[in-house]
């Protein structure tokens, strides 16, 4: 089992950092009038972990006994399959799996769960919970369908929405939820978690405190304070050598390395041939299911340390423009190419 899973806290008591937030959740969970929640924060901040700990706090250990089930849902005359994860007390949906049919999924499943009686009448709470992952990718239609449902069924049903940002959640939904912000762990928090895991796994770390802190800082920086990534990095480092110190290379994923190479090559040579070769790399990344928006952002931050301040300012401007177009357009590759070409021109003019 990967360390990220193996050392994942399963109760509020065992959560490692951000004690005030944990306390807030504990107090909310104590009451029968528990509100709907919108939990948001950057990737790898531990939102999902906190929510499963919260479910356990609400319903006890049986909330962690989850099973997967396959459902057939009907949209108009078409039928489609949908996988959902559930326990006796909650269900979990990934709307992205339903694509454009997410409205139907939300409509059908929420009504169904709100109308079924709880199996366990001795449970601490009488409502059920629906967790919606990646709620920021819900279509407007699906969000609209949630509005009145959240009110009508609120005696039996509470929603917990998870999102990276609240920008694409519509106002009426925000009005119906308590917003819970989960900040990324600090470098110190990350160091503490990594040290605990390293200890449990008998990783050979530097004896000296300063060297050890330097190591945590390296990982924290490279992971962009994303705890999931940080743990994966530590595990990979350990797999390569049992002894780790501050000079050990922090491994990046293949796709990140590839984007880093793209940035390097754009800065080095601004030619039509270069553009053509970069396009091939983009296709390669896309076939590995790295989203265009991720490519663009990663590329931007790989470029910035390599260019002058003035060029950097203009490249950010171009990145903002094409990131926006990416969201509205259909052909992601066009916008990646256009961003690349603009960057080359900016560098040429600088």
């Amino acid at each position: 089992m990967l360390w990220v899973h193996k050392y994942r806290p399963t109760s509020l008591e065992s959560l490692d950092y951000n004690e005030p937030l944990t306390e807030t959740l504990r107090r909310l969970a104590d009451k029968e009038d528990f509100p709907h929640l919108l939990v948001y924060g950057p990737p790898g901040a531990g939102k999902k972990t906190r929510v499963s700990c919260l479910l356990r706090e609400l319903f006890g250990p049986s909330a962690l006994k989850i099973k997967e089930e396959q459902r057939v849902l009907q949209a108009g005359t078409r039928k489609f399959d949908f996988v959902l994860v559930s326990s006796n007390h909650h269900i979990e949906i990934n709307p992205a799996e339903a694509g454009n049919q997410d409205r139907v999924v939300v409509q059908e499943l929420l009504k169904e769960i709100a109308q079924t009686q709880p199996v366990d009448v001795t449970a601490k709470h009488r409502f059920k919970v629906v967790v919606i992952n990646e709620a920021d990718s819900l279509t407007r239609d699906a969000q609209a369908a949630l509005r009145r449902t959240m009110e009508i069924y609120s005696p039996n049903l509470r929603l917990i929405l998870l999102a990276n940002t609240t920008g694409s959640i519509m106002g009426p939904i925000k009005s119906r939820t308590l917003l819970v912000r989960v900040p990324a762990p600090t470098t110190e928090d990350i160091g503490n978690v990594l040290a605990k895991v390293a200890d449990a796994q008998d990783v050979q770390l530097p004896q000296d405190d300063a060297a050890r802190n330097q190591l945590w800082q390296n990982i924290s920086e490279k992971s962009n304070r994303n705890l999931r990534r940080a743990l994966l990095m530590l595990e990979t480092m350990y797999a390569r050598s049992e002894k780790i110190d501050a000079s050990t290379q922090v491994p990046l994923t293949d796709w990140q390395l590839m984007i880093d190479r793209i940035a390097q090559s754009i800065v080095k040579s601004r030619t039509v041939q270069q553009l053509a070769s970069v396009r091939k790399d983009y296709y390669e990344l896309l076939t590995h299911c790295i989203p265009e928006t991720v490519i663009l952002k990663e590329l931007l931050f790989a470029l910035l340390p390599r260019v002058s301040a003035v060029a950097g300012k203009n490249i950010v401007d171009a990145a903002a423009l094409y990131d926006h177009r990416l969201r509205l357009g259909n052909k992601g590759i066009y916008h990646l190419e256009a961003f690349t070409a603009s960057t080359m021109r900016i560098l040429e003019e600088a």
Binding site: R126, G167, V316
Partner: protein
């Protein structure tokens, strides 16, 4: 004997979140919205009602008002057969409009039972509430037009929505329009005081008006925040600080640090500041709003600075609304502000 006791007694009653628990039960409970409530109270006397269109921002009492009006007109029992509520979570494509709505619209109005007739006006028509009508397709709305006209003798429609521009004109023009404003202090404050009294919680008026401010006139939001704050306070008085924290307002210190970093004009440092702010998870929309309030109202900045800043913020607001990346947008705004804010 306990053996024969009905099982339900042992089970704790279900409790809804406060926003639902304190939904107005009659028109008299609706806070603010005086214009709307006055007009509707008159219809209670005349027992006549036009088709209606309620619109306004979330949590201002639209759904509550129409449900309360229906209860005041028919009483709880008769409401069941006289009122049909459909919302965006129901299938409301064109076929449903043709079938379900039409079937309900054309049923004959029965004579009310004496119990209802004694206590309520019980006018001789039914009400169809189309809540969240802004998410109905244009086709479905168009189909509704005919139905509305054909059965107008025995049926009144009430369309409820946030975005009035999404209602097609021919439909909107058949309705009396009622605009629901964001709630202001006077009446909404009383409602919050009433809830505090019922729940036996300690919160002074300063805290309550802060709730209304951070909720931006959305009373549902204010009530949810009040509930959460009281849960956290555990009996001790609620403070303004707790309210700000819960409402997820970007702390002023964060905005100040950003502006400070921008005015020093070192791009690498600005990038770091923006990175840190984004990792804290502060919403970009909030940062844009607070930057706007800070810079544009400050007489210390000249017109040129303000025009550059407002152009950058306007572009960012639109893009964010389209789902653009928050970190890139904030960084771009910050970089655009460097030239005019640099000291």
């Amino acid at each position: 004997m306990s053996f024969f006791k009905p099982k339900t007694e042992a089970v704790a009653p279900r409790k809804a979140p406060w926003a639902e628990k304190y939904r107005p039960r009659s028109l008299g409970d609706v806070a603010s919205q005086e214009m709307v409530v006055e007009t509707l109270k008159k219809t209670l006397q005349s027992a006549n009602l036009p088709h209606m269109l309620f619109y306004g921002p979330p949590g201002t009492g639209k759904t509550s008002t129409i449900l309360a009006l229906a209860k005041d007109l028919f009483g709880p029992e008769l409401s069941k057969s006289r009122v049909l509520e459909l919302n965006a979570s129901d299938e409301r494509g064109i076929n449903v409009v043709r079938e379900k709505i039409k079937n309900f619209a054309r049923t004959v109005v029965t004579t009310p039972p004496a119990s209802a007739a004694q206590n309520y006006p019980c006018p001789p028509f039914k009400i169809i509430i189309l809540d969240e009508a802004d998410s109905m397709t244009q086709d479905a709305q168009a189909a509704l037009r005919r139905t509305m006209e054909t059965y107008s003798k025995v049926t009144r429609f009430c369309l409820v929505c946030n975005y009035v521009t999404r209602i097609i004109d021919p439909l909107a023009s058949r309705c009396s329009k009622f605009r629901f404003k964001p709630l202001d202090e006077t009446n909404a404050l009383e409602r919050l005081q009433y809830i505090c009294q019922q729940e036996e919680i300690a919160a002074n008026d300063e805290v309550l008006s802060r709730l209304l401010i951070v909720a931006g006139g959305d009373l549902r939001k204010a009530i949810t925040l009040l509930q959460s704050a009281s849960g956290l306070a555990m009996g001790s008085p609620i403070t303004v600080g707790m309210v700000d924290e819960l409402a997820g307002r970007v702390p002023d210190a964060v905005i100040d640090s950003l502006v400070n970093s921008i005015s020093k004009g070192i791009y690498k440092d600005i990038q770091q500041t923006v990175d840190d702010i984004c990792l804290e998870g502060f919403p970009a929309a909030g940062i844009v709003t607070q930057l706007h309030d800070k810079i544009l109202t400050d007489p210390g900045y000249n017109d040129n600075a303000k025009s550059v800043v407002s152009a950058a913020l306007s572009e960012a607001d639109k893009r964010l609304n389209d789902g653009a990346d928050e970190q890139i947008e904030i960084l771009n705004v910050a970089y655009h502000m460097v030239n005019v804010l640099k000291v």
